[in-house]
């Protein structure tokens, strides 16, 4: 749980500018993809893509018809060239579709290779039962083994810190060069990743993954597509495409009968051309490329998703459950002011605040020390003889036990009120007023006391992240509800919620509240996303439809989540929703475009097929000849696939609009555009085909 005293590791620099440190080598990507496109012509591979498999079978038949035009019956003239051209265009359609998939896969493989370069066979110091160490190969380590790593070592496997404090360079996986402090028993820094490097001190670790099943191994398998299985949306779209293909196959197979009846026989080559033009080859060819590119985009954002399903689910999210600290506000709250009470002077309050925080190493504690020192406060006792009292979620306060037996505490106002009363003191009237004043400013009030006397209130200022209000506005326009969870009191939570622009908040939240909020939202049929880093976040991460664990979090949180953010930046959840929506929009837009294209192809080929039946009026494009019309429609059909590869890989530009607005916009651009564009393109191709004398 991200409590008020914990802070997230916040890497510096703009996120967009960071990528995995091992540079991804994209050279030769297109040459390799081109070669791969031919290997994918293997029928065992082609059969996985129903639309393109039908085109593949059509190609084989047209190749046979090229060599023997009279194979299925007598033909009026010798259409070897025409059949040959159809065969070539169909072949290129398949190669282009394979190429799109190979480019997307190639990008993932390049990323996997870069990650693989961080993995190398290392030796590890395995701790034996008698406490001695033995040097073993990292590949021989298994889950549960204990190992020792010292400065300069590459950490041989994923693990949980059992003992020690050390700085670890995680740039191999996160791209962030600043070292990260790792220590045992901490929710935010107790897990280490194999392949990262320890740069100071030493750690005792318990291995948490068997060989080949570590974090980097999983990441390699995912970006490489080895574990890629179809997402629910992809499956639904595959069914739709197969239904359309089957319907058109039946229509085309029964067409020769009415054609013969009206005395306008159609050749098998033209029937195949019509079938290929009508089935949704564009989306059929680009479907897997869109999915792979979506995973790739998430990986480029330094997020590891356990499945494509998780990425896609991001796009369907209705509710975001967000921690206040680190997500909505900057992780570090800073002391802004000391408000004296009970008639104490500001100087006295500053010196008590200094004494209360001298052992507090959290950013908040350090800022109290800094503010007190700025106000001229100094310690009136020897620090070495005093005793630190750590913060705990139960007591909700921390402080110092003085050498003379005095007890100085700072903490939640209620907790300090109870402490003072337990020592026989009384609570000043001004405490509630100061509490309310700080809360109304959106700050966190910490009461300060020494023994039975309340000295004042420390105003910890919460700084709302710049631009977060606009992000929430965008999410609201997209129909995503935001719920803020905070351990703060209700007044502070309300002020922060209003300033940040979240839709709802839960104040004084406990870790259990998180899972309750998620369950309540899910009960209303909503999909919920959340972030978490602690072991006590694990049930909520598992319950949420999209759970994003921070890389700095515990192993339990990472295993429960379906995504891990390598930068440990909770704000990234908002970006993930955008990526998920972009993936769904891209798939929807290209499907719309692909199906809308049929209208123009229909008007190009049907008049050509039944020219003898006197339906010349349908030739609204004024195409040169029946042959030229068929060839132009097929050439357009083939060329549109490579033309749309960049859009499939990059994704349709995302706009924060509601589902209805997006639908209207897509229908206008990709629906209407999909109807008009092929009319123009087919006419142009027809002019070229006619001018070079191909048909």
């Amino acid at each position: 749980m991200t409590s008020s005293t914990q802070h997230h590791h916040q890497p510096g620099g703009p996120r967009e500018g960071r990528r995995h440190t091992p540079k991804v080598d994209m050279s030769g990507l297109y040459q390799r993809a081109f070669k791969e496109a031919f290997f994918k012509l293997d029928p065992r591979v082609m059969v996985k893509n129903p639309v393109m498999f039908v085109v593949w079978v059509g190609t084989i038949i047209t190749v046979l018809l090229t060599f023997n035009p009279g194979l299925f019956g007598p033909v009026p003239d010798n259409p070897v060239l025409f059949n040959g051209l159809i065969a070539i265009i169909l072949f290129l359609t398949i190669v282009f579709a394979n190429f799109a998939e190979a480019v997307a896969e190639g990008r993932g493989k390049a990323q996997a290779d870069a990650l693989r370069s961080t993995k190398s066979e290392t030796t590890a110091r395995k701790i034996l039962a008698d406490g001695s160490t033995e040097e073993v190969y990292s590949t021989s380590l298994s889950r549960g083994d204990r190992i020792k790593v010292i400065a300069g070592d590459v950490i041989p496997a994923d693990g949980e810190v059992l003992d020690g404090v050390a700085s670890v360079d995680e740039s191999a996986i996160t791209g962030e060069s600043a070292p990260v402090l790792k220590e045992a028993g901490s929710d935010v820094a107790s897990s280490v990743t194999g392949g990262t490097k320890i740069i100071s001190d030493e750690l005792t670790l318990q291995v948490t993954a068997d060989p080949g099943k570590g974090f980097i191994d999983r990441m390699i398998a995912l970006v490489e597509g080895a574990e890629r299985s179809k997402t629910p949306n992809e499956i639904a779209l595959t069914v739709l495409l197969a239904v359309l293909t089957l319907v058109f196959l039946i229509v085309i197979a029964t067409l020769p009968t009415p054609a013969a009846y009206i005395d306008s026989p159609v050749s098998v080559a033209i029937l195949i051309a019509l079938l290929v033009a009508l089935i949704p080859t564009t989306i059929g060819g680009l479907l897997s490329a869109i999915g792979i590119a979506g995973m790739d985009r998430v990986a480029q954002f330094n997020v590891v998703a356990t499945s494509g399903r998780a990425v896609e689910a991001c796009g369907d999210i209705n509710t975001l459950v967000l921690d206040k600290t680190g997500t909505i506000t900057l992780g570090n709250r800073l002391a802004e002011e000391f408000i004296p009470l009970n008639g104490h002077s500001p100087d006295k309050v500053a010196s008590v605040a200094l004494a209360a925080s001298i052992f507090d190493t959290t950013p908040e504690g350090k800022s109290i020390v800094r503010l007190a020192q700025q106000q001229g406060a100094s310690l009136a006792f020897d620090q070495r003889t005093a005793e630190a009292v750590d913060f705990s979620a139960r007591t909700r306060m921390s402080g110092t036990n003085l050498p003379d037996g005095g007890e100085i505490r700072k903490g939640a106002v209620d907790a300090i009120r109870g402490f003072v009363r337990s020592r026989g003191g009384h609570v000043p009237e001004g405490l509630d007023h100061a509490f309310e004043k700080v809360s109304r400013l959106g700050g966190t009030p910490l009461a300060l006391c020494q023994n039975d006397d309340i000295y004042g209130v420390i105003y910890l200022k919460d700084i709302i992240k710049p631009g977060i209000h606009e992000r929430f506005d965008q999410l609201r326009r997209m129909g995503v509800r935001t719920v803020m969870l905070t351990g703060d009191n209700r007044i502070t939570a309300e002020v922060i919620a209003r300033e940040a622009g979240v839709d709802d908040f839960v104040a004084e939240a406990t870790p259990e509240d998180k899972i309750q909020v998620i369950q309540a939202e899910q009960a209303e049929g909503k999909l919920v996303a959340m972030t978490g880093d602690g072991t006590n976040d694990a049930p909520a991460l598992a319950q949420a439809n999209v759970g994003v664990a921070m890389n700095s979090g515990t192993q339990a949180a990472k295993e429960a989540a379906n995504m891990v953010d390598l930068d440990s930046d909770p704000t990234k959840l908002i970006d993930l929703v955008t990526i998920g929506k972009q993936l769904l929009i891209t798939r929807g837009a290209l499907t719309t475009f692909s199906i809308a294209n049929d209208i123009a192809k229909y008007f190009a080929i049907i008049p050509a097929m039944f020219a003898a039946a006197g339906i010349g009026a349908l030739n609204i494009m004024g195409l040169n000849s029946p042959q030229s019309a068929v060839l132009s429609a097929l050439i357009y059909n083939a060329l549109i696939i490579p033309a749309l590869i960049p859009l499939a890989l990059k994704g349709v530009k995302f706009r924060p609009l509601t589902a209805n607005q997006l639908l209207q916009r897509n229908m206008l651009i990709f629906g209407l555009g999909g109807v008009i564009a092929p009319f123009i393109a087919i006419k142009l191709i027809d002019l070229i085909v006619g001018s070079v004398g191909l048909a």
């Binding site: 059969v47 996985k48 893509n49 129903p50 498999f53 039908v54 079978v57 038949i61 009279g70 194979l71 299925f72 019956g73 007598p74 299985s229 179809k230 499956i235 639904a236 595959t238 069914v239 197969a242 239904v243 293909t245 089957l246 196959l249 039946i250 197979a253 098998v268």
Partner: protein
């Protein structure tokens, strides 16, 4: 005296099991298609005047390819996760 032996049935069973193996599926499919075509093509040949005997066999096979594709697409619709 036992005049019946199960050996021919066992042999037949072994042979069927062999045919069901993955590697033999395509060959078996082709064989069955050709066998079916032995029934379809002559009917087609008899029904039309303009077709040569070879055309009838080719058209029969084309029809079977179309039926095969329809069966394949139906499988995709019913079990999409396999593709």
């Amino acid at each position: 005296m036992n005049r019946f032996t199960l050996r021919p049935l066992e042999t037949c069973n072994d042979w069927l099991e062999h045919l069901q193996q993955r590697r033999a599926r395509i060959a078996v499919g082709l064989f069955i298609a050709l066998c079916l075509n032995l029934a379809i093509a002559p009917a087609l040949y008899a029904a039309t005047d303009s077709l040569a005997r070879g055309n009838a066999y080719a058209l029969g096979l084309l029809g079977l390819v179309v039926i095969g594709l329809a069966a394949y697409l139906t499988t995709v619709i019913l079990k999409p996760e396999k593709f």
